[in-house]
């Protein structure tokens, strides 16, 4: 099967030159560090600007996957890098990136050269800059979408990549985009988020949210602009960034994010300041996005030429004698596509007992083959640490399922209790207080029975190994935060968070649990839900209705089964 080039952004001459220059520049910097010309203090900011961290066991390279879209050619390169330079696997993160946990410093220039060959890099994955923009992983495919948000993400990427004013912001700045009323991109938890909306006249524009975030002080983003015209979006974003650059706290790392500024000023005051900057930039008139430029970039993401097909769903009707394992997968991991006869298929990286988000080089290679055969050469990385085949024919689903089964990636649990987000935690991360992955594995094993998972229904568990919240614990229906008590791992439970359009921050339950107690506590909380729920009521809705008390009583009742 030949490699298919999907519709996605292709580097122009400028991009290609920029990435090649940065790669050569960093190779020189690595050489100078090894020879002693650069000290570690001089080198550290340079390596971080190129996505290279020093973690608990080794270096870690974070590779950007812009708006979560990958071609099969890129996927094969990711597999090649895992095999040749790392330990045979990669880890997909909640930022839609991929991380390698064991690269040697001496090999990193070669890795970056290999990445550049497939238009990839590790820039803007670290440091106080505008980070790699994330997007709805169903972008361009979902039936409920107003417009594909990726052209906007690409415009923001180009605008922000080298913007001289925004290289040294007070702190990192994360932007997410979505084109659908159903929020799959955790918009409300970003420094800034843009949702494509339609106004009363039926024109599309942008709703801009600001000041959301997780970490030590979680906040839900607030609306700064209800409807920003398309051509004005860069002027608007630049206005916000200017206010932030000027007024954001640089004296205290814990108060430096725009969420703190937003809440210190109040949203109304921020609106005024932004409006003033906006008027100035507009008067200058040099930040208008020309229609032709928007069209040019949008053309890269043109919908593929879908065949004219009939909808075959529900094709997983058991009475028709379908295979039970396939039916379970299809009913859980398939979402509705915009084109008749097509579907969106989630590849769960959450097999019970596996490491959430990890994939081996062999699996990555096999997925590249599946992408070419069945998904027009394309895959998405989701912030939930899964992969998504965005454009598959419904009639190919049984063959896709069989191909995924062959590489142990056909787990039918998308959105269920075992589809757990977990950050790398103390198994890998230098900043961690506690392990996350083994907790996810223990909970997944407890709930391994598929019938039980289905009975529980949608329940999102999210685990972070420290307050930095890379595992999105604040947004978990059940969130778990690892803390350190005198060198021993403890786990706090939070309930009632949501990263969807009904966004909320989870409420802390009380004293933490030990590593051995936490999975049992989660089980008792789930049992309390099952006992209290009304027909059809999700865990989150039951929690919102009855509050913390019954769950808390259950969780601390260690005698209960």
């Amino acid at each position: 099967m030949s490699e298919i080039q999907p519709n996605m952004y292709r580097y122009d001459e400028f991009d290609a030159r920029f990435v090649a220059e940065r790669t050569a520049q960093f190779a020189g910097q690595v050489q100078r560090r090894l020879s002693g010309e650069l000290t570690e203090d001089q080198f550290k900011p340079l390596r971080l600007m190129n996505g290279l961290y020093l973690q608990l066991h080794a270096y870690m390279l974070r590779v950007a996957v812009p708006y979560g879209t990958l071609s099969s050619r890129q996927m094969r390169m990711l597999a090649h890098i895992a095999r040749k330079y790392d330990k045979g696997y990669g880890h997909f993160t909640t930022r839609q990136n991929i991380q390698y946990n064991w690269p040697r410093l001496v090999d990193v220039p070669d890795i970056l050269r290999d990445l550049a060959r497939v238009e990839m890099h590790a820039i803007q994955t670290s440091g106080n800059c505008i980070r790699n923009v994330t997007a709805d992983h169903f972008a361009g495919a979902s039936a409920d979408e107003i417009e594909d948000p990726r052209p906007l993400a690409e415009i923001i990427r180009q605008w922000s990549s080298l913007h001289p004013e925004f290289v040294f912001l007070p702190r990192k700045f994360k932007i997410a985009v979505s084109g659908s009323p159903h929020d799959r991109a955790a918009l409300a938890f970003h420094d800034m988020a843009i949702e494509i909306v339609k106004n009363a006249e039926g024109r599309t524009g942008y709703k801009v949210l600001v000041g959301g975030g997780m970490g030590r002080t979680p906040y839900i983003a607030q609306a700064l602009g209800e409807f920003v015209e398309k051509q004005d979006i860069l002027a608007f974003l630049e206005s916000v960034l200017r206010v932030y650059n000027e007024q954001g706290r640089r004296d205290n790392i814990y108060k430096a994010r725009i969420k703190i500024l937003t809440n210190a000023l109040g949203i109304e005051e921020l609106k005024k300041l932004v409006a003033r900057e906006f008027a100035e930039i507009k008067a200058r008139g040099d930040l208008t996005v020309p229609r032709e430029e928007l069209d040019r970039i949008t053309a890269y993401f043109a919908p593929p030429a879908f065949e004219t097909l009939e909808d075959a769903m529900p094709f997983f009707d058991e009475k028709k004698g379908g295979d039970a394992a396939f039916n379970a997968w299809a009913s859980q991991n398939i979402a509705k596509h915009r084109a008749p006869g097509y579907a969106i298929a989630t590849i769960s990286l959450k097999a019970v007992g596996a490491v959430p988000g990890d994939a081996s080089a062999e699996q990555l290679d096999a997925i590249a083959g599946i992408m070419d055969r069945f998904s027009l050469g394309e895959v998405r990385v989701s912030h939930e640490q899964n992969l998504v085949l965005p454009h598959v024919r419904q009639r190919d689903l049984p063959a896709i399922f069989a191909a995924l089964q062959a590489i142990d990636l056909a787990t039918p649990n998308a959105g269920l209790i075992t589809d757990i987000i977990a950050c790398p935690g103390l198994d890998y991360c230098d900043l961690a207080n506690a392990r996350s992955i083994p907790i996810a594995q223990r909970i997944a094993r407890k709930f391994a029975d598929l019938d039980r998972q289905h009975d529980i229904g949608e329940l999102k568990i999210k685990i972070s190994g420290c307050i930095n919240a890379c595992g999105h614990h604040h947004a978990g229906h059940i969130g778990i935060l690892g803390v350190d008590k005198k060198g021993v791992e403890f786990y706090q439970l939070q309930l009632g968070g949501s990263g969807a359009e009904d966004a909320s921050i989870g409420e802390v339950m009380g004293p933490g649990f030990t590593e051995h107690e936490i999975a049992g506590a989660v089980e008792r909380v789930v049992n309390a839900y099952l006992a209290a729920r009304k027909p059809g009521e999700r865990f989150l809705d039951a929690y919102r209705r009855i509050g913390m008390t019954p769950f808390k009583q259950a969780a601390y009742d260690m005698e209960a089964a």
């Binding site: 560090r33 090894l34 020879s35 002693g36 000290t39 570690e40 020093l54 973690q55 608990l56 066991h57 080794a58 270096y59 330990k87 064991w102 690269p103 040697r104 410093l105 001496v106 490491v355 103390l426 198994d427 890998y428 961690a432 506690a434 392990r435 992955i437 083994p438 594995q441 350190d484 060198g487 021993v488 791992e489």
Partner: protein
Amino acid sequence: MAHQNHGSQMLTANRLRDGDVLYRKGDGWVLALADGDVFGDEAAAQAALAAAQGEAGRNEFVSPYLFEVRIVDGRIIPVKEREVIRAAGPTVRHDLGKQAGMVNV
């Protein structure tokens, strides 16, 4: 400022060229925790750290720091879980890291 009483300590760092975890032994480094020097008092630990910091210009290692250990039945056990994991490798992948005999060279 009075020094806290830390008990026994060891000195660790990462090798520059590949990031592998190192432990101080004499005036050099070894790859296994069990082979490293244990400093019984704060003065010896601080002296080792100062010596290592003075060698930073050799470009062999980065980020040296001290951590606490206990000796249990003749074995060195780090006090913090973090250092136990750093010395062995990920607890979720026993095929990786020092526990797997994997030296990152």
